[in-house]
Symmetry: C2
Subunit: 262 residues, 2 copies
DNA sequence: CGTTGACTTGAGTCTATTCAAATCCTGTGG
DNA sequence: CCACAGGATTTGAATAGACTCAAGTCAACG
């Protein structure tokens, strides 16, 4: 199903340090401990549309993303999709199958051309058992990842469509003040679904942001006049209090690795 | 803040095996490995309203619930709450602070009188480092818990208010067929918030279920004429296909430990 | 230059919300 | 045992936000 691995290069050792090292999952490992993953990793490129794996398939590999975007999703019986997560640079994909009887618990599809490292799941499982630091690091990365995701989902449930988009844009911004230009990382329709709305609503909500939050959109390019203004619009009632971030449910929005995709 | 520990009994060794053993977190441990947690655990009871801890507080203990319900939440600057999770029998509370710089990442409050075991976080941290089985077990339990929670939230986002309540009721049912009587585990208003709706909407949605899904409600007691009928109403479009559970995003609804609370 | 796919816009509908008022309950003090 | 305060729950009316369906634009591509 969904064939076509587009390239496949043996790992060059110079590739690994950057991408693997930056994976949250491996952040607590020493270079030596990382080495065995280096050696087992294979570098791959896949085009938009490629299915990495399907739910319930045995999980022989997990992946570390170096570039591009991967969508995790469930498929409903009648074909409708539920999007679980969107992953990019530094994220690991499919690693949790190791704790779930060795089968993937969701499906994964490339939604923007990716480069990634493919690593045997068996190696991870084996290493966890003998390396407490790795286990602890995984626990930490799992925990953090999920916590952020939670807060986000919970917050989103309280926001209007334009505000959810505001959050999304702010996560793309490298700076938390001044003006900024960001690029939408994937299809508008997909963003809409990720944010829990329809394409049509997304489009209308963008218009609202245009008027009320000082942004301009041209294709995938978004100009933000003032990040402060957008923040105010987005979190409006939630951030009047000075210093709110430190004690609120929200992590300060973290810029994701948003690579331009004209 | 929020004082009043109501009782506090030293642990009797006969207490521990049942509740600790049933905690997903400890499910992979041998009796010997569990022993050190036994010995360090303290049995406590707290009344509804008690704050176990607040966000950002240092986490000296984590808890294993034996009975009752605990709400995890974030507080917004203006006082509004975001509910992160509701936990009951067999769940652990506050354990993930161990991976988060030792501070709690959310607040926890008792919403129905609880009995629980309080265990020093330091012990957990130390054991994880020296016991790979524990680490693996934690990874597994974290992973599973989060995955379920996710699927649930994602599915809920696609459902109407009455359907979300249907899901909730089905999780309270011990059987997946025939009739059933269940008790709402906590305040209706709280259930409403957990399900992402207002109290008023909850009330109206219950009326809808009364008519269309064959249930009767009297206080906290809910009579379900036919679990099949309720399932059909709840998942309607999502489960026409035979055998759908196996391949759908949804785990078969798991009954939670719902103890009657007249 | 027609086709396809992505995006936007319009009109009408529906669900859930808000705000308020009306009930119902429960624990308390008499 | 009963009346009562205060909280929990239900109901009503009006409104807002998002959805559906369908039509209209636009741009890239063969």
């Amino acid at each position: 199903m969904a064939p076509v691995a587009n390239e496949q290069n043996p790992l060059r050792s110079r590739h690994a340090p950057d991408a693997l090292r930056d994976a949250l999952l491996f952040s607590s490992l020493s270079d030596e401990e990382l080495a065995c993953f280096h050696n087992a990793a294979q570098f791959r490129s896949y085009k938009k549309g490629k299915i990495l794996y399907l739910q319930d398939e045995p999980a022989d590999f997990f992946y570390v993303i170096r570039n591009g975007w991967v969508k995790l999703f469930h498929t409903m019986p009648e074909g409708e999709e539920i999007i679980i997560d969107m992953l990019s640079y530094g994220s690991t994909v499919g690693e949790s199958a190791v704790f779930e009887h060795g089968a993937h618990t969701s499906s994964a599809q490339v939604v923007e051309d990716v480069q990634l490292f493919s690593i045997p799941s068996a190696l991870l499982k084996e290493q966890i058992k003998i390396n407490p630091a790795l286990a602890l690091g995984m626990l930490s990365s799992l925990s953090q990842h999920y916590r952020k995701h939670y807060s986000e989902m919970a917050l989103n449930a309280m926001q209007t469509a334009p505000q959810r988009i505001g959050c999304f844009l702010l996560r793309l911004c490298p700076e938390s003040e001044g003006s900024a230009i960001v690029f939408l990382p994937y299809d508008k329709n997909l963003i809409a679904y990720v944010l829990g709305m329809r394409g049509a609503t997304f489009s209308r909500a963008l218009n609202m942001l245009r008027q009320k939050a000082g942004i301009r959109i041209d294709g995938t390019r978004v100009e933000i006049d003032s990040v402060e203004q957008l923040t105010k619009f987005t979190y409006g009632p939630f951030c009047e209090v000075p210093g709110a971030w430190g004690h609120s449910c929200m992590d300060k929005p973290q810029p994701v690795q948003a690579y331009a995709h004209q």
